[in-house]
Symmetry: C2
Subunit: 249 residues, 2 copies
Amino acid sequence: MHKDTTLSLQALRRLPGYYNYLLELRRRGESSVAAPAIARAMGLNEVQVRKDLAAVSSSPGKPRVGFGVADLIDSIGRCLGYHNSEDAVLVGAGRMGRALLSYGGFEAHGVRIVAAFDEDEQVIGQSEGDHPILSVKRLPDICRRMNIHLGIITVPADRAQEACDLLVEGGVLAIWNFAPIHLQVPQGVLLQNENLPAQLALLARRLGERIAKFGEESAGAEEDLRTPSPEDQGETEPQKAPREEFHHG
Amino acid sequence: MHKDTTLSLQALRRLPGYYNYLLELRRRGESSVAAPAIARAMGLNEVQVRKDLAAVSSSPGKPRVGFGVADLIDSIGRCLGYHNSEDAVLVGAGRMGRALLSYGGFEAHGVRIVAAFDEDEQVIGQSEGDHPILSVKRLPDICRRMNIHLGIITVPADRAQEACDLLVEGGVLAIWNFAPIHLQVPQGVLLQNENLPAQLALLARRLGERIAKFGEESAGAEEDLRTPSPEDQGETEPQKAPREEFHHG
DNA sequence: GATAAATCGATAAAATTTTATCGAACTGAA
DNA sequence: TTCAGTTCGATAAAATTTTATCGATTTATC
């Protein structure tokens, strides 16, 4: 029932948020959930959530009940490719690179990092989180042989173009770039930049706007801010009335 | 001349991309740049870029010449708050946490990480990238005293809600969360989730779509894909005709 | 100088995305 | 069984975002 084409780009970006929330519901033992409940928890519009769910769900929601939690988890996972397995390589086994390598969450999202590359003789031959670290000289060849189309760049900014070129040479068609620099890629190669400092700065900016909007009673003030402002969307989710219960104490 | 209100959310998200590209132009010695050139380099629409630049630029662009590179860098930086300095704390000095701590790019974006917290006695007392790692027990108190409103969560998923609650207790009003879990925050607290695996999965999905669309001639195939498809936007930027020259050797 | 090419700003059209509204369907309680 | 309340799907309106078009302006070239 899921027609790929009906999913807007923005909707796609909301799905991972739903996914995590649904996993939590499942942990709590909930077997079904209504769109309005999800909307409240995530600070989104009811209709929007309902539309998103309708677009991915394999079975329609039941009035007065909602959607099956397990069904939704499966549908969203399927839709986002979490059940596939795409191989990827990582270039740059520095701090960030190794953090990603040791992070176990990628397999659950359908991506398997099969190898890491670096140019530092010190780290070549080591391994991190079960991923071998190889010499960057072997990168293009290995990518070709293993038919890898997905690359991650975690090298310093001044080496990023070089790493990028090696990946392209190896036949990689999609690059996830953590270096804060503009990369040149040939036509047909997808490039997604992950500019972490910029993300944080954006959050700081929004925070600043808020504080400015409601007078600033800094030192030791109690929370006075309310009305999460409906301008939010995307990765950001304010809670409108998330009372439910806290699940950690 | 920059009217904060005229900047759409999507435009805000494009600015960091412009920023990096402009920095590169400055390194190359370019003193001015035209909107269409930026658009080509970033795979965006001319008019869109022109509108974005007009919204932030302090001085109008000159026909036949474009905008001043230095001016734009300053304007965008100002607009994104890169010239401010907002203090932040980080919770969770694991791999990802320490990667962020040792990453020098935050200061340049107007955010200063003043301290990190962890509960592991082994790491408490150490420091990473000049940032002391303190006991998480002291978190709320220190945040209150230092009047910190920005928090970063890099703890494992099953401890994230706990970390979140401590930050809120400390008066933090905006939280950047790396744990792949849905967090409950009170009204008025901004929450931005950074779900790295989900981001990569999204890229993998788009790659899969592409490969499916143009037949799949895997093993050792030359690049045959063309026409970057105009569906792209946001963090993603395909190149339409980036010939210029490569700047790395 | 005059002319051609390219860019700008502005306005408006198109596309996408979000939000509102309606009747129908289902559940649980009287 | 009946009724009240909630949620669903669908349609349509509103808002936002992207793209196209046009005349005006400036620079480079002849």
